[in-house]
């Protein structure tokens, strides 16, 4: 029993990390149909910028805010300079652009920062909380709480503000949205900014657990993308559930089956889910227009 609880804690810790990355994918996808493979680099930039600003003597909260702000600038620049000029292109071309951007940002980070691993101090210390024979770090709860806050804010924003309604409209039908007077370009740019902010915040929250380095983004993007697809791309709830599920799958596979094949088990389950539900768990069916 205690070990099941421990596996669950592990799965939740890792799963919330995936969920936060998956949320970033979902938001940009909704506004623009683009899968942004530079999402992992937003996470990296959040963590690394905070680490280096803190090393330069800035107080941690200030460093974190500055890191989020600068990542948002990067997100806006990515949209304005690379995505917007090619917005009419084939989706795979846009994906290639985001891959190019992720190579560029990794290259930038290794020049501006360094190539070593870094960490941040956990907010509530590193003394584990023991429940039922299992142990969880307070920082895992912080990440979990962070994910909840971000999801609630997103929901409130999308559901309760005019801007959010414009986002929904854009995601439903871009042409129609433009016809009713929505500046879709602004909406898409905004989605990049918010995704960057979510990514950076995630990067700051998870660094005390996962550590960070200039190339931490690749794997996070891969897992986050898988989580988003498992949940059904375009659904915020799907992103969170997909992320948590992926984390739990890995933890229980490592605990019960084989730690060597835990990633394989996770992807086998994803494949099985997609074969049964080709739109993921919470995805909407798209009708192909003839």
């Amino acid at each position: 029993m205690a070990e099941n609880l421990q596996f669950a804690f592990s799965g939740l810790t890792v799963g919330t990390v995936y969920a936060l990355v998956a949320l970033g994918f979902t938001l940009i996808y909704n506004a623009s149909d683009v899968i942004n493979f530079a999402q992992g680099e937003f996470v990296m930039l959040g963590g690394m910028t905070t680490v280096f600003l803190a090393m330069a003597g800035l107080p941690l909260p200030l460093a974190a805010l500055a890191a989020i702000a600068s990542t948002v600038v990067v997100g806006l620049a990515l949209h304005r300079l690379a995505i917007e000029p090619a917005r009419t292109a084939n989706p795979i071309v846009l994906i290639m652009i985001t891959i190019g951007a992720s190579i560029f940002l990794r290259g930038l980070a290794q020049v501006v920062f360094d190539k070593r691993f870094h960490t941040l101090p956990p907010i509530f210390g590193s003394e584990p909380i023991r429940i039922g024979g299992a142990a969880i770090l307070p920082q895992s709860l912080v990440v979990l709480a962070g994910a909840v806050v971000i999801v609630v804010l997103l929901w409130a924003f999308v559901d309760r503000t005019l801007f959010g309604k414009a986002l929904i409209a854009t995601s439903a039908n871009r042409l129609a949205a433009r016809l009713v007077g929505i500046d879709t370009r602004q909406i898409v740019g905004f989605s990049f900014a918010v995704s960057a902010a979510i990514g950076a915040a995630a990067g700051i929250l998870i660094t005390p657990i996962t550590l960070t380095s200039f190339d931490v983004g690749t794997l996070l993007a891969l897992k986050g993308f898988a989580a988003a697809m498992l949940g059904g791309i375009g659904s915020a709830l799907g992103a969170v559930v997909g992320g948590l599920l992926l984390g739990l799958l890995e933890a229980f596979a490592a605990g019960y089956l084989s730690s060597q094949y835990k990633d394989a088990v996770a992807f086998l389950v994803i494949l099985a889910v997609l074969f049964a539900m080709p739109q993921g768990l919470f995805g909407k069916t798209r009708v192909e227009r003839v």
């Binding site: 190019g100 940002l105 930038l108 992807f267 080709p278």
Partner: protein
């Protein structure tokens, strides 16, 4: 439009040139001349190695391009098939006592079989769901290659025996340039034949719209599967060549990054363009070699170049330039 600016005497020449370009043997002939003339510019075994690598990866891209450019299906796990081919020629001679050439064929057959089995359920998925499923498939192969160290040598990889045919050993960069060049030409010819066949037309119809294609009587699932299996065989042979050429192979050959690189080669060169497969590959193989002069700025510039090509040549290098030259050839 431009013809009007030409003198009447020049017009027939131009139209004759255009018809020459449309001739079914024009591209194969041009490619043959290209690979035959290239060695004149290769000064060292290093140059030959780069050229051979371009041709080997271009071979894999030819197959992927059939899948992406013609059938309109993406695969983010295609390096998995390269991995099967590469480890077939490594494991066959080392553990099973098979000759290399037979292992190569067995690897290709195994890739075809695997593609056939997983292809049917995977290809039912659409767009990004297909992307994540193929990605997962590629990862599974890479994980097996990494973990089954008794057979594969694990992450540090294993040595690959030289290929021997009738007492002759295939080694050296010049030899491998010619082996990969001839195979690439055969692969390109095969791909061109396929494109001009009814199957090719069916694939293009699928690319333009699956529902419409099925209404027109195309067996969509079957044709997609055919493209997937063929693409797997191309990648497998390329993987075998890479392993035999390098003499040492690691699971990186099947990794996620390699898959992304293959897709990038196809998209940069131009989806649906045979010549594009070669050009896109050449760009991504040669570029990192020239960018080494930038040292720490290498990756930044590589990323920027990819972004710029995709913004300014968004149909891919070859189709965009071909359109600009007024010589549309699908």
């Amino acid at each position: 439009m431009q013809d009007e600016t030409l003198t009447p005497a020049a017009r027939p020449i131009r139209s004759r040139l255009a018809s020459l370009r449309r001739h079914p043997l024009a591209l194969p002939a041009a490619l043959t001349v290209l690979v035959a003339v290239t060695p004149l510019f290769l000064a060292s075994s290093y140059h030959y190695r780069i050229a051979a690598l371009v041709l080997i990866f271009a071979l894999a891209c030819l197959g992927l391009n059939l899948l992406m450019g013609y059938a309109g299906q993406i695969s983010l796990g295609h390096a998995g098939f390269m991995g099967i081919g590469a480890y077939a020629v490594a494991i066959g001679p080392a553990h099973l006592g098979l000759p290399s050439w037979l292992s190569l064929l067995a690897g290709a057959a195994l890739s075809a079989l695997v593609a056939f089995i997983v292809g049917r359920p995977i290809l039912r998925l659409k767009r990004h769901y297909l992307a994540v499923a193929t990605l997962g498939f590629g990862l599974l192969i890479a994980i097996v290659l990494t973990n089954e160290a008794e057979f594969t040598g694990g992450p540090d990889g294993m040595a690959v025996e030289r290929m021997q045919l009738f007492g002759w050993t295939a080694k050296g960069t010049v030899t491998w340039y010619w082996i990969s060049a001839i195979t690439f030409l055969l692969g390109a010819k095969l791909a061109l034949n396929l494109i001009d066949s009814p199957t090719g037309r069916a694939l293009r119809a699928i690319h333009d719209g699956e529902v419409a294609a099925s209404v027109l009587g195309v067996d969509v699932a079957r044709k997609k599967l055919a493209a997937f299996v063929l693409a797997a065989v191309y990648a497998s042979v390329a993987g075998s060549y890479l392993a035999l050429f390098n003499g040492h192979i690691t699971p990186d050959v099947a990794g996620f990054l390699r898959s992304i690189e293959l897709v990038a080669m196809v998209v940069l060169g131009g989806m649906g363009s045979i010549l594009g497969s070669l050009v896109g590959t050449a760009v991504l193989v040669v570029l990192p070699q020239t960018l080494t002069v930038l040292h720490d700025y290498e990756h930044m510039v590589l990323g920027l170049i990819i972004i710029c090509i995709m913004i300014f040549l968004r149909e891919g290098i070859v189709p965009t330039l071909a359109a600009a030259l007024g010589a549309r050839r699908s």
